[in-house]
Symmetry: C2
Subunit: 363 residues, 2 copies
C-alpha cells in the first residue's frame, strides 16, 4: 500500500523564499521527482554516515548529478574550511546559478551544505534530505545554515531556506540508536511549545518510536516539521515566534559546549536544557508540577542521557557568550503549559545557572 507523501509549504507572505516539505515513506527512491533545481542539475553532498540514503538519491538523480562530495559529519568538521571544500568541488565542476545543492545527512551536513549553497555564486538553491531524527524534526527546516567558530557554535552562517526538504523515515534506518533517541528530543520539543494534542499523541507512541516503528516516526517528525514550517513561515529571522523553537536551547547550548561537543549529542544537551527551563517555568510561567513531571518522564524514557557537566564557571562563560545575549539581555523560552511556550527577555544569568545546576530528568 502506498500512502501519498504529505506536502507542507513553508513561506512568508511577501518574502522571496519558499520551502516545500515532502514527508512520506518511500520518498528516497523517487527523490528526483521532489528535489528542486531550475537547471535540473545537482551537487550532491553527503557523509559516511549517510551512504545508504545518499545511494538511493544518487540512483534516482543519475546523470543529473554534476558533482559529488562526501564530508565529515562530526561537529568538528562544521567549519568554513569544509564549506570551502564544497565550494571548490562545485565551482571546479562548473556549477551555475540555476543549479542546486542536495544535502543528504544529519544536522551538520545540512547546515554546512546549505551554507555553501547560500554563498556559492551569491546563493544557489539547495535541498535537504535529512537522515537523522533531529534533522528531520528540526535542523533541515527553516533556513538556518552555517558553521561553528572557535568562539561558539553557528557563529558564521546565513538564512537560506532549502527549496525542498524530503523527509523519509527510512533514511534514518541505519542511524545508531543513541543518535536516533537524542534526535527525537527535538520532535517532542516542537510539540511541547506549540501543540498539546501532538504532544499527547507522540508521548503515547513513545514505545513504538523507541522500537523504531517507521509509521510512528513518520507521525512524530511530520508533526514536528509542520510546527517548524508554520513558525518559520511567520518569522524566518528569529523574532519572538521563531525564538519559541529555542526551548531547551539556552542551557542546552551551554551544556553541549561544556562537554566540548563530544560528551553530549545535541538532542541530549537539549533534553537537559529543557529540564533546566522547566525549573524556571515552574516559578515564572505558571507551569504545573504535573506537566513538568510528564515532560521529565518522556525525556527519561527517551534516555537515559549522559549526565552533563555542571561546572558553574564553565556554564556561566558559555551562557554569557550566547548569540541571544544581546544588549537587551538574556533571552530564553519558558513553558506556560504543554503546547504553549513563551519568550522571556530578561531571566538573570544567575537564575539560568541555578536551574542548570538543579536540572533533573528523574521523575
Amino acid at each position: 500500500m502506498t500512502v501519498p507523501p504529505r506536502r507542507i509549504a513553508a513561506a512568508a507572505p511577501g518574502e522571496s523564499w519558499e520551502s516545500v516539505l515532502w514527508i512520506g515513506g518511500g520518498l528516497l527512491a523517487g527523490s528526483r521527482e521532489h528535489l528542486s533545481s531550475r537547471s535540473g542539475r545537482f551537487v550532491l553532498v553527503s557523509s559516511a554516515g549517510s551512504r545508504a540514503p545518499a545511494g538511493e538519491v544518487r540512483r534516482s538523480l543519475g546523470a543529473a548529478i554534476l558533482a559529488e562530495i562526501e564530508i565529515d559529519d562530526r561537529e568538528e568538521a562544521k567549519t568554513l574550511s569544509t564549506v570551502s571544500r564544497i565550494a571548490d568541488t562545485a565551482l571546479g565542476a562548473g556549477v551555475r546559478r540555476d543549479d542546486a545543492v542536495v544535502a543528504v545527512g544529519g544536522g551538520v551536513v545540512c547546515d554546512v551544505a546549505g551554507f555553501a549553497a547560500a554563498i556559492l555564486l551569491r546563493g544557489i538553491a539547495w535541498n535537504a534530505v535529512p537522515t537523522t531524527t533531529g534533522a528531520m524534526s528540526d535542523a533541515a527546516i527553516g533556513g538556518k545554515t552555517g558553521v561553528d567558530h572557535s568562539t561558539g557554535k553557528n557563529r558564521i552562517g546565513a538564512f537560506h531556506p532549502p527549496a525542498a526538504v524530503l523527509i523519509d523515515p527510512a533514511a534514518a534506518a541505519t542511524l545508531p540508536d543513541r543518535d536516533y533517541r537524542a534526535g527525537l528530543v527535538e520532535a517532542f520539543k516542537a510539540a511541547w511549545i506549540a501543540d498539546a494534542e501532538l504532544a499527547s499523541r507522540i508521548e503515547d507512541s513513545l514505545e513504538r518510536l523507541l522500537a523504531r516503528d517507521e509509521d510512528a516516526l513518520l507521525a512524530a517528525v511530520a508533526g514536528a516539521a509542520a510546527i517548524k514550517a508554520a513558525i518559520v513561515s511567520e518569522d524566518l529571522k528569529e523574532g519572538d515566534r521563531r525564538r519559541l523553537l529555542n526551548f531547551g536551547h539556552t542551557a542546552g547550548h551551554a551544556f553541549e559546549a561544556a562537554g566540548g561537543y563530544r560528551d553530549l549529542r545535541h538532542g541530549e544537551a537539549v533534553a537537559w536544557g529543557i529540564a533546566a527551563a522547566l525549573e524556571i517555568s515552574l516559578r515564572r510561567a505558571g507551569l504545573s508540577g504535573g506537566e513538568a513531571a510528564r515532560i521529565r518522564s518522556a525525556l527519561s524514557r527517551l534516555g537515559p542521557f549522559p549526565e552533563p557537566s555542571r561546572d558553574r564557571a564553565v556554564l556561566s562563560s558559555f551562557l554569557a557568550g550566547d548569540k541571544k545575549f544581546t544588549s537587551r539581555g538574556m533571552a530564553g523560552v519558558l513553558l506556560e503549559r504543554i503546547g504553549r511556550g513563551k519568550v522571556v527577555e530578561s531571566v538573570p544569568l544567575e537564575e539560568w545557572l541555578g536551574a542548570a545546576e538543579r536540572a533533573s530528568l528523574t521523575v
Copy 2:
C-alpha cells in the same frame, strides 16, 4: 560654507533591506552621525591605502569601536581566508547581532568586509565608506558582497546591502591617479546606460575631474550613486534592470582575468569592455556612430589605459566561464543611445570575441 549632505534612500518596496546613501563634502569628520549600528558599536575594517580616511572615521567613532582590523586591499586578498580573519577579530572581540561593521576602503575592502558582515552571526549590519572613485560610483552600493575563487571573481558571496554608505569626495584625496581615473569609468558607465543629461554634464566636467576638483567629483559620483541606488531599489538580485549596470563588464571581466587581475585595474578593463560593447551596439542596438565616438573620446581622455591582452583562446575561456553564462545563454548589455542601455540574452560567444579583438579607445 557648509552644504548639507545629500540623502538618497535605496530600498525595495516589501523587501526587508534599506540602504541610506549620504553624499557630501566633509562627511568623514562627522561620520558617527550617519553610520548605522543598533547597538552603537562598530567593527572597523580598513586597508593600508585608506589609513587617512579611516583615521577620520576612527576619531569620529572613538570608543564606539569594538574592534579594528586592517586588511590587504589587493584583488589577491579577496579570499575566504581574509573574511575568516575579519570574523576571528570580530567574534574574538565579542561582536553581537546588533553591532555593525564599517568598511573604509575601495571595492575590495567593501566587498570583503560586507561579506564578512553578511555571514557573521548569520548577518549583522554594515556600513560602507568608499575611498576610491570606483567604489563611490559603484562597488559600495547595491549589496553585492563577496570574494574571489581560483575559478573566477566574486564566485563566493552574498547579497547584503549596507545600512549606510558615506560618500565624501575627500576620502579619495590620497588615491593614486591611475586608480582615480580608472574608477571614474564606473561613474560614466552609470550615466551612459541611464541618464543622458548626467552623461553630458560629466563629459563636460571631465577636465575638472581629471584635475581632481572635489566639487566635480562630488557631482559625478552623486549622479552615478543615485542611478545605482534607483536601479537596485527596483531590482536587487540581477534581473534585467540591474543587469544594465553590467555594461562593459562582459568583455571587461574577460580582459581583467586575462591580465591576471594585475595588468589592468577593474575600471580600465571595464573601459575596454565598453569599447567592445560599443562594437556590438552599433550593429545590434542601433547605436549611432557619433555617440559611440563620443563615448570613446571620453574614455580616451580618462586614460590612456594600458592595452589589454587580446589572446582569443584566453578570452574565450573566461567569457564561457562567466557567472552570467547560464543555461539560457550569454547575457550582455548594449547601448541603444547615450542614456539608454538594453539587456540582450543571446549574443553568441563568437561575436563577443570579435568585438573584444576590435575594441578600440581611439577616436
